[in-house]
């Protein structure tokens, strides 16, 4: 009977997983090509980063070329929804006029769970250089409180 070698088992498992990922092709595909394909990445546009300090949570979303008039944000409880549309070109261009078409375009909806309760009335958003920056001030009760230590 062959000796049980856990490392070898793990190695086989890893190779198996690699093969699965290679076949789906997502690993080698740059995000910008797949961003709007249904089923694959449709729920992950725009990509977002979250930042936090003691007063607020900041969301930064990578959304170049989104028509600002289509952008809409809403906060319900601690869920932030972003919807909008990225158009390929402003005017009407015939498909056969394109030599290259690499930019991902389309309509998007994204819902994000925020890590803390926010004050919905004070949320504001800026759209600058293709980055959407949403400032979400924390609700009073979610802010950290300094507790004084009594020396007695």
């Amino acid at each position: 009977m062959a000796e049980l070698n856990p490392w070898q088992t793990l190695e086989t498992f890893r190779r198996e997983l690699d093969r699965v990922f290679d076949e789906t092709g997502t690993r080698n595909e740059p995000f910008f090509r797949t961003a709007f394909l249904p089923g694959r990445a449709a729920r992950r546009y725009p990509l977002t980063n979250l930042y936090e300090d003691k007063d607020a949570v900041y969301l930064e979303a990578l959304a170049p070329g989104v028509d600002p008039s289509t952008l809409s944000l809403s906060v319900v409880g601690n869920t932030l929804s972003i919807t909008g549309e990225k158009r390929r070109v402003a005017g009407d261009v015939k498909p056969e006029a394109f030599h290259r078409s690499e930019r991902a375009t389309g309509k998007f909806v994204r819902h994000l769970q925020l890590p803390v309760e926010v004050d919905e009335n004070k949320v504001h958003a800026d759209y600058k250089d293709g980055l959407l920056i949403v400032t979400l001030p924390k609700a009073e009760k979610a802010k950290p409180k300094q507790i004084a230590v009594q020396v007695g």
Binding site: N49, Y51, E52, D53, A97, F98, R103, A104, I133
Partner: protein
């Protein structure tokens, strides 16, 4: 218009090697190129690149786009799905582009370059004479 540097996937891979060398990480931005009657239009997605941090130049028939992206958000990062990287891409221009007339416009993170065709490359209506 031919692309001069390596294709996007390769550049992408190179950028993933060492995360500490932040300033030297470049990716090729995705572009759309379409043709109009008067010339070519190049659209490039450059999120996070301000006007001052963008360098577009033509030298020796090579069009170079280089941009530095910067985060502007305060606070500590708590959740990350992407990193802002620098952009670099080159294209070789044909003689049919009037290089003195190229215009660039950066809006909402998208660079729009218009490359007008040189006079002799424009489509011309040829009059048919009946004689």
């Amino acid at each position: 218009m031919a692309e001069k540097t390596v294709a996007a996937p390769e550049v992408q891979k190179a950028s993933m090697t060492e995360s500490t060398r932040h300033q030297e990480r470049y990716v090729a931005p995705p572009v759309d190129i379409y043709e109009t009657r008067d010339g070519l239009v190049v659209l490039a997605d450059l999120p996070g690149v301000a006007k001052e941090a963008l360098d577009v130049r033509v030298d020796n028939n090579v069009l170079t786009i280089r941009g530095h992206a910067r985060h502007v958000v305060p606070g500590e990062v708590t959740y990350r799905e992407y990193e802002l990287v620098n952009f670099f891409r080159q294209f070789e221009l044909s003689d049919k582009v009037d290089q003195g007339q190229i215009t660039a416009d950066l809006k909402c993170g998208v660079l729009t370059l218009s490359l007008p065709k040189a006079e002799e490359a424009k489509p011309r209506q040829i009059e048919v004479r009946v004689g």
